[in-house]
């Protein structure tokens, strides 16, 4: 996916989220219209309650973007803060943060997200926290390694010689240099969060309020959509989720490619 297409797709998803937040995609249940096939009025047909599947899928973008931005934000901010702290200070702080990251990574990610989602009682807030608190480890380790490298760089030494404190150096000198790395890590955490929200909601510990892709997929499983030849809900939600993931992933790939040179084939 090209950069322009990815940005256009993200803008479209953001627009859908804003429109959904304004309540535009809400359709009242109408049992008389349940399981209607695709038509001019309902492009993807209707669900078991007679609601428009396309409107539901578009409205699901709101939850996906919200979870992706907030959980990805939590993971990136936490990982960056801990990584800079560990790399800059070293010693006890480094060892403590390493032990905490080893502790989190010792538990299988899916299981940890499930346990935390269960603990926080599910809901959108539970998903933010569970996913955010589970996915900071990779960012933290990368940022620590990069901070260790940058700590000895000339511009940092010059800043220290000029009397700048640790906080100022971190904010004014380290963070701008870590920005591309953090951008990539945020995109990866965003993608993980969107997928995790779908799985958590599907397993019953995710978003309970409002339309979400996880709930739509859970309904598609529960009502045996494919077994009854109804493929539009599964296809619509899958396409919507895949589009968002692909757009973010391709932007992350481009960010990463800027830092890594290309390579030639072997044969």
């Amino acid at each position: 996916m090209s950069r322009r297409l990815a940005l256009a797709a993200l803008a479209a998803y953001a627009l859908c989220a804003v429109v959904a937040a304004a309540g535009a995609f809400v359709s009242a249940p109408d049992l008389a219209a349940a399981w209607a096939p695709p038509s001019a009025g309902n492009w993807l047909g209707t669900d078991q309650l007679g609601r428009d599947v396309l409107a539901q899928a578009l409205a699901g973008a709101r939850v996906a973007l919200l979870v992706g931005l907030l959980a990805g934000g939590i993971a990136t901010v936490l990982g960056a803060a801990l990584g800079i702290c560990a790399g800059w200070n070293g010693g006890l702080a480094d060892r403590a943060i390493f032990a905490a990251s080893a502790l989190v990574s010792a538990v299988p990610g899916v299981l940890l997200v499930l346990v935390l989602g269960f603990l926080f009682g599910g809901g959108t807030l539970g998903v933010f926290l569970a996913v955010g608190l589970c996915s900071w480890v990779g960012t933290s380790r990368l940022v620590r390694a990069e901070t260790l490298r940058l700590r000895g760089a000339d511009f940092v030494v010059a800043a220290r010689a000029g009397g700048a404190g640790g906080g100022r150096i971190a904010l004014r000198h380290l963070l701008p240099n870590l920005a591309p790395l953090l951008g990539v890590q945020f995109a990866l955490a965003f993608v993980f969060a969107v997928k995790a929200e779908i799985v958590l909601t599907f397993l019953g510990v995710g978003v309970v309020e409002g339309p979400s892709w996880g709930r739509m997929l859970a309904d598609a499983w529960g009502f045996g959509d494919l077994d009854h030849g109804r493929w539009t809900r599964l296809a619509g939600v899958s396409a919507a989720a895949a589009g968002l993931v692909l757009a973010v992933q391709s932007l992350a790939d481009r960010l990463r490619d800027r830092a890594a040179p290309g390579s030639a084939p072997l044969a």
């Binding site: 502790l103 899916v110 397993l203 895949a242 993931v245 992933q249």
Partner: protein
């Protein structure tokens, strides 16, 4: 590390950090009796008596409710107005009951409270009532007797110690259905491994072979496979599993769809094949990245410059040098296999560990989740150590002292 994980999990699940742990275990709609039983099961109270007091409200039709607030038992009316506050600390159940009776007799219009309990129970400290009730609200209505439980509160440090000792003995207790958790995990874990292990090994072998081919040749097939992998990885497995299930069963008729019964091989082959079709793509991308990185090394370029044929470059030089990271990845992934797949086991009605975990989630079974998490963490730590040793054995560069490597 495992002890730290156990303490962390305990603190998360049972200390009340994330709300009342008994409420989390028993569910939001649990009755006071179910909540009290959950507190006993979690070891928050000991010497538990489920039917310590039986209270029945008499008099005019009305609804009163009892709940514990700040260590006191508070009696409220239908409008939630506080009618009486009875201290539970340092008093006996007898004293609490007498104060409750007096408060109800003093209402306008007055009511009466009928209490049934053994005399020995009434001598117990009233604080046990608060410990067993937690945040439960007990409704009293004429004609609807309520039962109150009693339990001696267990301090948090004592609970942590008892839990750690139990975990060290591999005693995870009973699940919500009354089955031993360890036995259930072992039995179901074996079923999950029966399809997950062959599927994982086949996926790894296929992904590795394809990755080498892609890294060596590049060209349109590499691009096609990478595009396919990006597309498949962007689609949620929740959408892919029913599609593959339908294709393999109803459309192609390759596998039967029937309940878990002998012969098991076809029932295990179906999730294994689904696993392969979904898990192949991320593995392929990972191994291709490793292969491309390795193919840029100077020694490989030197071998190419010497005129070695591509097949020998690929299988004689590149593949052996990828063995260390690939086997390390395999070793680290292996412990997760016993968890099976939460989605696959639900889709194919396979009674493995994944299904057990989803059931535990639905039943708010904190003990089962805790046990599965700890066992997975222990397996991961062992596998991590093995992976390190394996990588060092396969790659002499990893064995060299730091100064020499530098």
């Amino acid at each position: 590390m495992l002890a730290c994980a156990a303490v962390l999990l305990f603190l998360l699940l049972e200390s009340g950090v994330a709300g009342d742990p008994a409420r989390a275990e028993a569910g939001p709609r649990a009755t006071p009796a179910e909540l009290a039983a959950a507190r006993a099961r979690l070891g928050m109270v000991k010497d538990f008596l489920p039917d310590a007091l039986r209270l029945e409200l008499a008099g005019p039709p009305r609804r009163l409710n009892l709940r514990v607030e700040d260590g006191d038992l508070v009696l409220r009316d239908a409008l939630d107005a506080e009618q009486a506050r009875l201290p539970l600390r340092g008093e006996s159940l007898q004293f609490a009951v007498t104060r409750m009776r007096a408060a109800i007799e003093g209402l306008d219009p007055p009511g009466a409270l009928v209490v049934q309990a053994e005399a020995a129970v009434l001598d117990l400290p009233a604080s046990g009532l608060g410990a067993a009730l937690g945040d439960a609200r007990v409704d009293l209505e004429p004609g609807f007797p309520a039962t109150l439980a009693w339990g001696r509160p267990v301090p948090l440090p004592q609970r942590v110690g008892a839990r750690l000792a139990a975990v060290a003995r591999l005693d995870f207790g009973l699940d919500r259905a009354g089955r031993p958790i360890l036995g259930e995990i072992a039995r179901r874990g074996a079923r999950s491994l029966a399809y997950a292990l062959p599927a994982f090994l086949a996926t790894t072998a296929l992904a590795f072979a394809l990755a080498l081919w892609c890294a060596a040749r590049r060209g349109w097939l590499d691009r096609a496979l990478m595009t396919a992998s990006a597309v498949v990885m962007s689609v949620s497995a929740i959408a892919l599993v029913p599609l593959i299930r339908r294709a393999l069963t109803a459309d192609l008729g390759l596998f039967p769809l029937r309940p878990w019964s002998p012969p098991y091989a076809p029932l295990l082959a179906l999730p294994a094949l689904t696993w392969l079709l979904i898990a192949l793509w991320p593995e392929l991308r990972l191994y291709r990245t490793l292969a491309v990185e390795e193919s840029e090394r100077p020694w490989l370029r030197a071998a190419r410059a010497r005129g070695l044929p591509p097949r020998r470059l690929l299988w004689g030089h590149l593949a052996p040098n990828l063995a260390a990271p690939v086997l390390a990845h395999v070793a680290v992934t292996l412990p997760y296999l016993f968890l099976g797949s939460l989605l696959l086991e639900r889709a194919y009605d396979l009674p493995g560990l994944g299904e057990y975990l989803t059931d535990a989630l639905a039943a708010h079974d904190a003990r089962a989740l805790e046990a599965a998490t700890l066992i997975a963490a222990a397996a991961f730590l062992v596998a991590h150590a093995l992976a390190g040793a394996l990588a060092a054995a396969l790659d002499p560069r990893l064995r060299a002292p730091a100064s020499e490597a530098a």
